[in-house]
Amino acid sequence: MSEKRQKSVCPAWGNYKELQELVRHHIESFDYMAARGLEVMMENIKPVKIYDPATDTTLSHILFVNPKLQLPQKERFRTKHNALYPFECRQAKISYTGKLIADVCFQYDKKAVIRESFNFGQLPIMLKSSLCYLRGADPKKLVSLKEESAELGGYFVLNGLERVARPLILQKANYPMSTVRDSFRDRREGFTDKAVVIRCLREFQSSLTDQSSLTVKLYYLRNGSARLGFWIQGREYLVPVGIVLKAFIETYDQEIYQQLTSCNSDGHEKGKGAVGSQLVGERAKIILEEVRDLSLFTQDDCLRHIGEHFKPVMEGFENEEPLNVGHAVLKNYIFVHLTNYDDKFNLLIFMLQKLFSLIDQTSSLDNPDALQNQEVLLPGHIITIYMKEKLEDWLRKAKKLVQDELAKPNRFNFLSVPDVKKIIDRNPSSQISSAVENMLKTGRLATQTGLDLHQRAGLTVQAERLNYLRFLSFFRAVHRGATFAGLRTTSVRKLLPESWGFLCPVHTPDGEPCGLLNHMTYCCRVTSFFDPEGGVKDFFEIRKSILGVLSGLGMAPSFPRLAASGPPQALSVLLDGRVVGSIRSSEVEKVVSKLRRLKVSAASMIPNDLEVGYVPLSMGGAYPGLFLFTSPSRFVRPVRNITIPPEDGRDIELIGPFEQVFMEIRCPDGGNGGRNDAFPATHEEIHPTAMLSVVANLTPWSDHNQSPRNMYQCQMAKQTMGYSLQALRYRADQKLYHLQTPQTPIVRTSTYAKYCIDEYPTGTNAIVAVLAYTGYDMEDAMILNKSSVERGMCHGTIYQTETVDLTEDRTAGQMFMRSSKGPKFLDVDGLPYVGQILQPDEPYCSFGNTIEPKTRVFKRKGSETVVVDYVAVDTKKKKLQKANIRFRHPRNPIIGDKFSSRHGQKGVCSQLWPDIDMPFSGATGMRPDLIINPHAFPSRMTIGMLLESLAAKGGALNGKFVDATPFASSVKKDDAGCTKSEPKSLVDDLGEALKSHGFNYHGVEVLYSGVYGTELTCEIFIGPVYYQRLRHMVSDKFQVRSTGVVDQVTRQPIKGRKRGGGIRFGEMERDAMIAHGAAYLLHDRLHTCSDYHIADVCSICGSVLTTTFIQPHKKMVRVGGFGQVPPQNPKKVLCQACKTSKGMETVAMPYVFKYLASELASMNIKMTLNLSDGA
């Protein structure tokens, strides 16, 4: 075997840098919020004004400045060491939060500004963010803080639970998108289904943004005109586009006409890249006529028109001039990413051109489901925009409180800020943070406006530490949005080529969230507010330098007006949704390649994550243009730019999904991949596995498997019982699965070492024989070697924690204690001993109060014997009132437990077979640990598993790990020397290794029957395969019952495993019995074993309900010594209706039948039975 095959897979200890990269987007988004985001957001909240007519003063400019977020601190501790650490929060079931303080400014009339500090409560702090104590801690420090040595952070600890914000897919910000949606037709009469939609990220001076967004839609009308739709206070308003155009700038009709028709010059009709048509001019005329019909001629006319119409809905503008209202509407609700009216005008013209081209079918629509037109919503950003709304609410309420108070007769001193503050404090400011905490706890947004998001629930999820891979996946997951989950169409779930390299095609669950819950590939990153050096990016400077570069390269700047030429001669250049100019189409390619070079060079001001979205001219393709994006929260991934000489070492370029679509990226296998010569590759993938997620990358030789099997493996890897945590001792998770003796796989991919999976291994190298041995391996069952299991294979434990908080109890003064009569095996403090074995239904702690002598106990539920692992008590109070008691459930493999290889081959243990009966190898004496059936392979085609077995056998013989990185043959060999001389196949490589150790080339061995000692007629394929134990275990699932609890009303067995109920024998089962004619069985199941009842029926009136027992008069019966049974009185039954017991008969019937009779009686329906002797 070649040395190369194991070089890259040896573990590197303690290097968690690559791991940390995986959660970077979570942490960076939070860091920005803490560093600048909150400040920018608060400073740009619209100040409120309160006018007091009595003193004729205006309290104006109530606004927030200078927010300060503090490190998490313990309450009520005024000593030096008052830092609150995450592990304490986890154990005490509290939240890891820091105090948020901000100044609120008050200004009376034009006097000096008075600042008053407000406490905005305890804001949840993300672990390993800049405000966390774990930030920058090395593994040693982390361990001393009772964390994992490989702690990643990126999540919140809320009430002791770890919750991760789930990144959501959003429409790409600041990019006008051609959209077709049927619902547009229903907006108003005359609307079509076509529109151009832009989601604008609000921006202020010097390019600061608070991350809130506002969507503007430009609808096309059937008459050729267009309407601009924008949202105010949760309602959409539609305005004729001409009015908005004219309101933006002082212009004249001819200019607008020229601008709109700039793209349809003569001679280019139907040529490549022509987007205009004759009809555009007609439409422009219609738009202009609409405005003229309303007799609006000047900019002021239009503004006033808008102002008059929007005054009622604009809060705080009740007393303003219509002109000012008009300005406010344009400023705050239309194209909020732009501050300049000229820019807004240019963008609207561009959008109209794009809309008309969509109508004329000279350009295609943009797919909203394609990653090309999407970006991601990150935790820090959602907190910022949610908090913004909460602060605005708070201000509004504060204003109302003050105004209400002013209206009252006994008034307070309006001129004193402390007095005002007192009133404002009636609506406590601390609830701002608790609203955020609640949002993170429940994942639910409590908002009126919807924050321009399409979903209000499921924004955060609990990060289960079932095993490491599952935990990691929470940070790499991106969700398409809850609204799509309910959709009946499946188009959103489709795997589109646009997501290549960004979202993993393999790692998505099957079933309900399939295709909606995706995972980022391991090299996919999200752009942030931070530059590579860790400083906050200055977008103003960045854009300025980009503009500088562009003008230097021959871009005609658009300021103040767009040049009157469009595609195909010139392409518009949009920088973050602002039309900055146009470039001659012949020049564009040069500009693009220059920009790309500047992107990767360290010297330039151009950021390395700039997205150069060059949409080339085409015949009816996407609307052409050069779209540049510098914004954060875009996906990016690294590829190699081969136009740059690799000598510089700076040829790795970050590309986004928008530009990727129009780029030529080749596979690094050296071939051209069937590429047309006209489009030579400009970029190259770094490694073909870059299209897979971390979990998908761990499947060895996944390129040899049938694709759905790799998907199953991604599922199962996340349900594997593994080494979940190293700091297990300090955890109080409700349930943790833990494998006692895990192993590192012999066959592994390069990803395994890169992400230090050895810290948290998930399986065992089991010797697997593939044969049909006893029949117990049929249908995906597997036989485990009993001796192997007894020696510790796949032994595991479940750690389960019960948190007992007596303070929650209403009765005060409760504390843990043991009474003298209480259970002896509890300690004197009422808590169990560590290491103690507890049977089901035994008490695990007792409590009471000091007044009453009585104590009560908590009993163990379930049917398992457990061991007390750990008891932690809260010693903050004098009394012991709060304790975490952790139990260990030993879970060693038994029949019915589930196992799986890493190739989607799962199975259930059907027998623990004695070692001596297992087949053995004559040469080595080896018996397999596990037997699977050969039928598992033909239909599933998991060749990777066969290869793994072969390779692991060779690796075990060599004592070396084997590299099973997929697509290894598609990578250019490092040294050109061995490329030609090594055309050998993978199997050859593995087979030779076996042969050199005296084993069969094909991995088969001659085995002897363990029972008879004779040679098996076939040679058996046998070798080590890494097997995972899945968390589904019979002990948690089995349900048996002979007799037990019955339902009170129906007297039928109750349902539910927990309560000891039965399994439902339903209609379909009943049908099957009927079809078989198994009448006796049916009777047994549905009647005898269910609600068998002997009812007394009156044959005279036929009623089952009118019977009553008559208590026979108690006769004095002399009991005649032992052995003599007292004579039983026959029960006397009487029919109340007939007043006789003559016609009483007993009839066996289901009890529900009687119940039915009484139900019917309650509806005044009488049911009578006609009794006859069954003949």
Binding site: V1004, Y1012, E1015
Partner: protein, 318 residues
């Protein structure tokens, strides 16, 4: 019809014998006997192993069950096991394993008081009976000077402590693998390899070479003097048929003929150290005898006699 005796006299020839390893030939018997011997060696030869653990203090990183399981798997010297009683059959004690006939008590006390990690190994297990102690692997390897300290149980850091009492009992591998004295027991049929010299002589040297190389194990070689293919190690043959297949592909079927002798076996026995390999074989034969006695003396066998007639007598070894 003449009385025939099916009785055979099996022969054992020892090839190699070490404390924990043995290789011997078993001839003049059939696979059923050979396999029975193998099965008994693995699953029914008794040893002593820790079965009950009372933990007094355990502040180590491993939990109680884990340590108890590890202790159970430590091989203990079990020469005395054959003469010991199963604790379930012991009359002298009430089954708590405190008596000398059925159990051995162990104590382990370890506490780490230094900054280095303290390795708690099987050497730290103190036995109440000097005949039943954890197996010393250095002794077996004949390496007295080595630093190896026995089987690792747990590692302790400063302040951690492990204190426990363990009771070892007699048991068999059928009940739990920890009582199995055998690491590996396997046998193979002795191969009989015949080379057709005439056909072989007609082959070219390359062909011969390829025949030799076709077997992954070194069964054949070319005699440097005669340039003929010779069998160097017939027992290295694993019945993988590689040579036969090779010859078939060359069109030389019948050049080499390999047969497995039905009545001779080569056993390889490796023990865990609990019993010496030689003793393991002897114990296994003893137990096998007891089992056959049990069959012979059982009432069912008498009934079977009527059923099987003279075969019944054979079954009893007559």
């Amino acid at each position: 019809m003449e009385e025939r005796s099916y009785q055979r006299k099996p022969v054992v020839k020892i090839r190699e014998m070490k404390d924990d390893y043995m290789k011997f030939e078993l001839r003049n018997t059939d696979a059923s006997v050979a396999n029975a011997l193998r099965r008994v060696m693995i699953a029914e030869v008794p040893t002593v192993a820790i079965d009950l653990v009372e933990i007094e203090v355990n502040s180590s990183v491993l939990n109680d069950e884990f340590i108890a399981h590890r202790l159970g798997l430590i091989p203990l010297t079990s020469e005395r096991a054959m003469s010991m009683r199963f604790s379930r059959d012991c009359d002298a004690c009430d089954g708590d394993g405190q008596c000398e006939y059925c159990s051995v008590e162990f104590h382990l006390r370890a506490k780490c008081v230094v900054d280095q990690t303290l390795d708690v190994t099987s050497k730290d297990l103190l036995s109440s009976d000097h005949t039943v102690v954890p197996v010393d692997f250095n002794e077996i390897a004949g390496d007295e000077t080595s630093e190896q300290k026995g089987v690792m149980i747990v590692k302790l850091r400063r302040g951690q402590e492990l204190r426990l009492r363990a009771i070892a009992r007699k048991g068999i591998g059928k009940d739990h693998a920890k009582w199995s004295p055998a690491a590996t027991v396997t046998f193979m049929y002795e191969p009989e390899i015949n080379i057709n010299e005439d056909m072989m002589a007609r082959l070219s040297l390359e062909d011969k070479q390829s025949i030799v190389e076709s077997s992954p194990t070194k069964v054949f070689d070319i005699d440097p003097t005669t340039q003929q293919v010779v069998v160097v190690d017939a027992e290295a043959y694993t019945y993988d048929d590689e040579v036969i297949k090779k010859l078939e592909s060359m069109g030389k079927t019948g050049l080499i003929d390999i047969k497995a002798k039905e009545d001779s076996f080569i056993f390889t026995v490796e023990t865990t150290g609990a019993v010496k390999a030689s003793q393991l074989v002897l114990n296994a034969i003893e137990i096998l005898k007891q089992k056959l006695d049990a069959v012979r003396l059982s009432d069912d066998t008498v009934e079977a006699d009527d059923q099987f007639g003279e075969l019944g007598a054979h079954m009893r070894g007559g």
